[in-house]
Amino acid sequence: MDPSASKHLVVVGGGMVAQRLVEALRDRDAAGAWRITVLAEEPRRPYDRVALTSYFSGRDAEDLALGDPALWHDPLVTLVRDDKVVTIDRAARTVTTGRGRVEHYDHLVLATGSSAWVPPIEGADLPGVFVYRTIDDVAELRGYVEAMGQGKVVRGAVLGGGLLGLEAAGALQALGAQTTVLQVGTHLMSAQVDLGGGEALRRLINGLGVGVRLNAATTRIRPHRRGGVGRLDLADGGRLDADVVVIAAGVRPRDELARDAGLEIGARGGVVVDDTCLTSDPAISGVGEVACIQGACIGLVAPGYAMAEVTADRLLGGAAQFPGADTATKLKLSGVDVASFGDAFGQTPGALEIVWADPVAGVYKKLVMSDDARTLLGGVLVGDASAYASLRPMLGRELPGDPAAYLLPEGTGGAPDLELPDDAGVCSCNNVSAGAVRGAVTEQGCTDLGAVKACTKAGTSCGSCLPLVKKLVTGELTKQGITVSSALCEHFALSRAQLYDAIRVSGVRSFTEVVERFGTRQGARGCDICKPAIGSILATTAPAHVLEGERAALQDTNDHVMANLQKDGSYSVVPRIPGGEVTPAGLIAIGSVAEDFGLYTKITGGQRIDLFGARIDQLPLIWQRLVDAGFESGHAYGKSLRTVKSCVGSTWCRFGVQDSVALAVLLELRYRGLRSPHKIKLGVSGCARECAEARGKDVGVIATDKGWNLYVGGNGGFTPRHAQLLAEDLDTETLIRTIDRFLLYYVRTADRLQRTAPWVDDVEGGLDGVRAVVLEDSLGIAADLDAQMARHVLEYEDEWKATLEDPEKLRRFASFVNAPEVADPSLAYVPERGQVRPATADERDEAREAQLRGEPVLVAGSTLEVRR
């Protein structure tokens, strides 16, 4: 073989892809058609950059060498190290190096890779600030940390929460530094995994002892007094002390040579190549990270290797074409299993996502499937990527069997549910049938409750059908192999019950702490779903007044002003009337308040009196009068105990066998103010005739000759259910203890807005399961529940009375912050049956016109002294 007869291939750059190109060409070019010169800037042979981090675990540079060293002794291969190419002369077909070497080429390959990108922040050039790309980079970093670490803890910061940043963080941690990752975006590894995966990943990273700050943009790196870096300033005003900083903010293709040579450059950098890897000059190819292929530079080695293979084939007269990039990635950080492949973000039109998340175990898995749920399009695996190896080859193919089975841990199966017939009405407000809800999932491709609501309008009015709609949607999705997340909302991946436990066990006391510890995103501030739910949870785990500090911001307007919002923006007031028992003086007091404030008055279905049409600024005045008359809040606004309805019972009724009123009053006073997942209502009847309709209540008590029968899980409302018998002939003490436990077990474990009837169904073992917990203490939590209720009873205070005593809380009731004495001018009322009601829009318009004509008006603003 005569080298002088061969054509000359010059390769610029001696990185991973260059090595693969040389290997591939020498493999196939048995005839020696090409002799190869590799001009490399780095002072060593091509090495395994992908395994760079293992340099820290004691390996030296030699261990990272790639392939068979004999390659470089091949007479047709010349490797020139430590010499950087500085110019290309396309006309003369020569390249010139920094050391003055000039090589003539028949074909030139650019394999110059990328460089670490350093954002233009002040202080990025300080000693102690590193990038993470070459062996020299990591050797210097190691030396710096070791020198500094003599006897003290080194604080490390990594700018960038991508693949590279996390690897660097792991390496710093392994060197003994206390490390924090700063990610500019909303979640870690945002190029590879979605938000849910990013959140699971954050927990795993935290588990390694590495801190994570999201939405954290560094604006400045400040020096330390002793020299070197000392501190980072963040855009949000925060700061972080750091002795060593690694910048892993991304890479930029090293396309300088190509630019200078006038080759076509991609919009976002990189030398543009076609599918044969040729640049705009047919004598020059581009491979690896520097190549902009199919519109993008790809920061992964596998596509680079594919380009090397294509180029080798083409140089030998073949017709190979770049097959498209495989962007599958797996994080190499011990203890943190993360993989992402294919269409990880579900961008294919119609793609279905199957998500399985177990926040407790730190696992988040998602498969992206074609619209028929058969073909695997991609996936994200966090916390348990064991399925990665078998799934990745299945990309673009039909997955045999149920796709969800690939995600679930062993032996998980959902119990089948009773089927509603398709023509059964589900949402009466909007006249939507069960079939229509199912169809939204099966035919219209809705994959969550929100989409089904938007598509069918079910649940968009009064909302009471939502639990049923949700159940149907979940059922239908489950049939399609899609596991529905029980996440509370976008801010919490946990269900209400999980969150309750997390809050109770961790003892956190404020929303800010809860969202920071258990939320999906740093910096997020909750929503109208999670805030009231957390307000309600905190009310029983860390009781405080509804308007206390940050708690005030969690409440729906009803709880916030301790009244019920009406359609026109005014409020209704319901004083508590325990057991429905009220003195004539009490009735008169309520009546005179209603009269003085011109309130519409109605006896409620809950045996008490509702006063409607109060302005927000009138509420404290009204309540001052009611409190003075001995009344307290009836919590008609709260997800909490409402009423304990009673019949007249044995004291008057000729059939009564027990004093139902006395028990009802006792129970109402015991549970008043108890915040719960949904409202709770109790009923007590004095005999089996059941005049109190106790079996229509969440907790119903019916007197017997020997004591009390206890029924649970009754509901009126949207889905009426009769309560079921839990226990018979209990004495009063046992009865109360059992109700205590039942209520608190419900408070702890029910879903948000789940009433007791569906909750009992959901408890494992149903009614028997509930019985085992509250009567036999099968979970061993009874003492805990008893103590929690004792505390509730002890600490109860009337929230209205407490509010009236606190000027700070009273400030929340001003009509206008800059005009507290001006009444809301938008309120208008008309008379009806001797009282008032809100004027309709037409009536307001008519009144306005009548006023313009100078005629008398029937509509009156609430400020006017109307004989309403």
Partner: protein
């Protein structure tokens, strides 16, 4: 050349507003809902809820939502839970409803500044 001058109306002290809660104010006779966020930014949108025709938005729950990757401050109407972007006024979720009487689903917004602890609304 005419220079448009914005007039700033002093409305209250920052301290008069509770964090992450709204308060209604009357600015030139118009009902404005002011919101003080967790970071003490103050934002202003109309108090009128276009979906229920009542003046209630200041009484909604303040929160945030991820919109195109950015965390956006929001308020949910206390009446029927429509969600609005507090900075732009844009309705982010009409919960399947239409505004009343052909009104815009998006809210009017006012510029707000805090000068020496005094909240001023640009009229």
């Amino acid at each position: 050349m005419t220079v448009m001058e914005r007039t700033w109306v002093a409305v209250c002290r920052l301290d008069d507003l509770a964090r992450e809660r709204g308060a209604a104010a009357l600015v030139d006779g118009v009902q404005v809902a002011l919101f003080r966020l967790a970071d003490d930014r103050v934002l202003a949108v109309q108090q009128h809820d276009p979906f229920c025709d009542a003046y209630v938005l200041s009484r909604g729950i303040v929160g945030s939502r991820a919109v195109d990757g950015a965390e956006v401050a929001t308020v949910a109407s206390p009446m029927h839970k429509q969600v609005f972007d507090l900075v732009t006024g844009r309705c982010l979720d009409p919960v399947g409803k239409e505004p009343v009487r052909g009104m815009s689903a998006d809210l009017r917004v006012w510029p707000v500044r805090v000068v020496d602890d005094v909240v001023e609304v640009g009229a």
